[in-house]
């Protein structure tokens, strides 16, 4: 059904996508290798420090080191290790996490992935929807008090790093008005119960709020408003206005429709990049997501786990950009394939 040239383009883009993922993986691996952390040394030294006892036999210690290197797949030259990790990458089986041994990387990731995905998708999409709608609506009442207040609020909120805002939220809602408990939550076994929703909501509200408020009232609001104002100054909108169409109709058919497409593109970029950025939010809110896990893994030098998480992120971002590239011409007819 698809035309030939399109298949060719798809294949080429997918080739690029694969190459990108491969290169990003290699860069990550090299950086990880340069990292001055020998996790085996770190584990053994730490155990011994706490033990405080003599170990005596250096031969036994040497043997222990060897066994540990063997178990964690850290044996051999740089190239050998690279090949072994590449192999793991290709099969998406990163083996045993060093930190969480004997759990595998997939297991550890699978515990946390739903949380991160839920938080990011929920907060990003919600802020996107809210921000765009407010932006479009406000542009209809440009120059009014409400518009001015919202605009100045957005300009002040937008530049605040979201983690500063997160801190403020923690102090306000955890401490001054302790609406939200800071202790971790327990998920009810029944996924379809009201209790489940309430519990998840409780756990996600504060971290999501920090992303939503800054995101919605900041970036999405500002950009959608700017776009809406652009459209309002266009002739076709003026024509619609002169025809006396109701404001709701104008909003739906003229503004939102035209704002939405470019904003979807921006959203796809955002979904990709927010992964790394959520790390701080997760740490601040003690949120059981991948960000905190990644930070732990990086600190400990847990190669399999870091590579596992980073690879997932790399694939996510690369695929998002790829899809964006493929969709972009659909969204903006002025951009053509080369």
């Amino acid at each position: 059904m698809l035309p030939k040239h399109l298949i060719k383009y798809f294949l080429f883009r997918i080739l690029i996508l694969l190459a990108t993922i491969f290169t990003a993986f290699t860069i990550t691996f090299v950086i990880l290798k340069i990292m001055p952390i020998d996790i085996v040394n770190n584990i053994i030294a730490r155990s011994m420090a706490v033990t405080g006892a003599a170990l005596g036999d250096p031969e036994a210690v040497r043997r222990m080191y060897e066994i540990y290197y063997e178990i964690f797949g850290l044996k051999g030259t740089f190239i050998e290790q690279y090949v072994s990790f590449l192999n793991r990458f290709l099969t998406m089986d990163f083996g045993i996490s060093i930190l969480a041994r004997p759990a595998t990387v997939q297991e550890v990731i699978s515990y946390r992935l739903p949380w991160t995905v839920a938080l990011l998708v929920f907060s990003t999409i919600l802020s996107w929807v809210i921000g765009n709608i407010i932006g479009a609506v406000v542009s209809l009442f440009e120059g009014s008090k409400l518009s001015n207040i919202l605009q100045s609020l957005a300009i002040i909120l937008y530049p605040i790093p979201y983690y500063v805002f997160a801190l403020v939220l923690i102090y306000i809602f955890g401490y001054i008005i302790p609406l939200f408990s800071l202790t971790p939550i327990r998920l009810p076994s029944n996924i379809f119960s009201l209790e489940f929703i309430i519990t998840v909501f409780r756990a996600m509200t504060l971290p999501a709020l920090s992303i939503i408020v800054i995101g919605a009232l900041g970036w999405w609001f500002l950009s959608s408003r700017a776009m809406a104002l652009n459209i309002i100054s266009e002739d076709f909108y003026l024509y619609g206005e002169i025809r006396g169409l109701p404001k709701l109709h104008l909003l739906k058919k003229y503004l939102l429709k035209n704002i939405l497409l470019p904003q979807i593109t921006a959203l796809s970029i955002n979904l990709g990049t927010i992964f790394g950025g959520a790390l701080l939010t997760e740490i601040l809110f003690n949120y059981p997501g991948l960000g905190t896990l990644l930070y732990q893994a990086v600190n400990a030098g847990d190669y399999p786990l870091v590579l596992g998480i980073v690879s997932m992120s790399i694939i996510g971002v690369a695929v998002a950009t790829c899809i964006m590239d493929l969709l972009y011409p659909l969204i903006d007819p002025r951009i053509r394939y080369r």
Binding site: I16, I31, P36, I156, V164, L229, T273, N299, I309, V310
Partner: protein, 294 residues
């Protein structure tokens, strides 16, 4: 020749600033006030880095300059810390923006103009860097370079995650410029590729480049604060990030030491606000359609 053109272009842009809107003016004003405050750091007394030189957690008082903003839990003057933090954070920001934006500029223009294989390779590299999650990459690099870290290196680390975006944007602009009449005309006037880049394409990118530099500065300051949160900045130097790090460390907010908490966070927000306003101001100037209708 090229350089002269660039300077000419910049000069023209600067002259036009008086035509710029209120946002730019407000932003620039706030920024200069912060800068002047930061410049006070050149008067820093030698004892400012000493721990417990002053009484601990002393609220602000007017008895001397050292106490204007009070002292911290480790007996240091908040005032002097803040002035130094502003300068240091700005150094990181400037290093980052200069590096990242110019690397992005060069790569973006080159791949936009040359096209073909060079374009493919460069964009493919750029995409690879974009695909690696930014903050984890910075954390890893910061950990690697921890033994030799300094302000410049910190800037370099942060710029590693910043340049790909600049490169992509610049390339997109260059691609659209490449097919414009004036570029073809210049080509058929026998101008060399370099000359076309400098005299025809570059002046059109300049405006975007300026806003990009400011936005990158904004991002760099934020990234430094993020790294400092995790204890990966230069904790023995005063930056806005490390100030917040120490506030966290000593539980200053819970101890109601507002005189220690408010200055760095307020400065951070004001700095962000001012840079953001300046950058939108420039954008609006360059693209009048963004200015308010009616």
């Amino acid at each position: 020749m090229g350089v002269r053109l660039v300077v000419q272009g910049l000069f023209k842009n600067i002259i036009k600033t008086r035509k710029m809107g209120l946002k730019f003016k407000a932003g620039a004003t706030i920024f200069f006030v912060i800068m002047i405050f930061g410049l006070l750091s050149f008067l820093t007394p030698h004892y400012h880095s000493y721990w417990y030189h002053f009484p601990q957690a002393h609220p602000p008082s007017l008895q001397s300059v050292d106490f204007i903003f009070g002292t911290t839990s480790n007996g240091r003057s908040v005032f002097w810390s803040l002035t130094n933090a502003i300068v240091n954070s700005l150094i990181i920001a400037v290093v980052t923006s200069m590096l990242a934006c110019h690397i992005g500029l060069i790569i973006g223009i080159l791949s936009g103009i040359k096209g073909g294989v060079i374009d493919k390779i460069m964009m493919f590299l750029t995409d690879s860097f974009i695909a690696i999650p930014g903050l984890p990459l910075t954390i890893m690099l910061a950990m690697i370079l921890k033994p030799i870290i300094n302000l410049f290196l910190l800037g370099v680390i942060i710029s590693i995650i910043s340049w790909p975006w600049s490169a992509r944007m610049i390339r997109a602009i260059t691609l659209s410029l490449r097919e414009k009449d004036f570029v073809i005309f210049a080509k058929f006037s026998g101008m060399s590729t370099w000359k076309i880049i400098f005299s025809e394409i570059f002046p059109h990118i300049l405006g975007f480049h300026a806003t990009n530099i400011i936005n990158t500065m904004l991002g760099a300051i934020g990234a430094e604060v993020g790294l400092a949160f995790l204890g990966l900045s230069i904790i023995e130097m005063d930056t806005l990030g490390t100030m917040i790090y120490w506030i966290q460390r000593y539980g200053a907010i819970l101890q109601n030491m507002w005189w220690w908490v408010v200055p760095p966070i307020a400065t951070l927000i004001l700095l962000f606000l001012s840079l953001y306003l300046v950058s939108t101001g420039i954008q609006e100037f360059l693209n009048p359609r963004l200015r308010r209708v009616k």
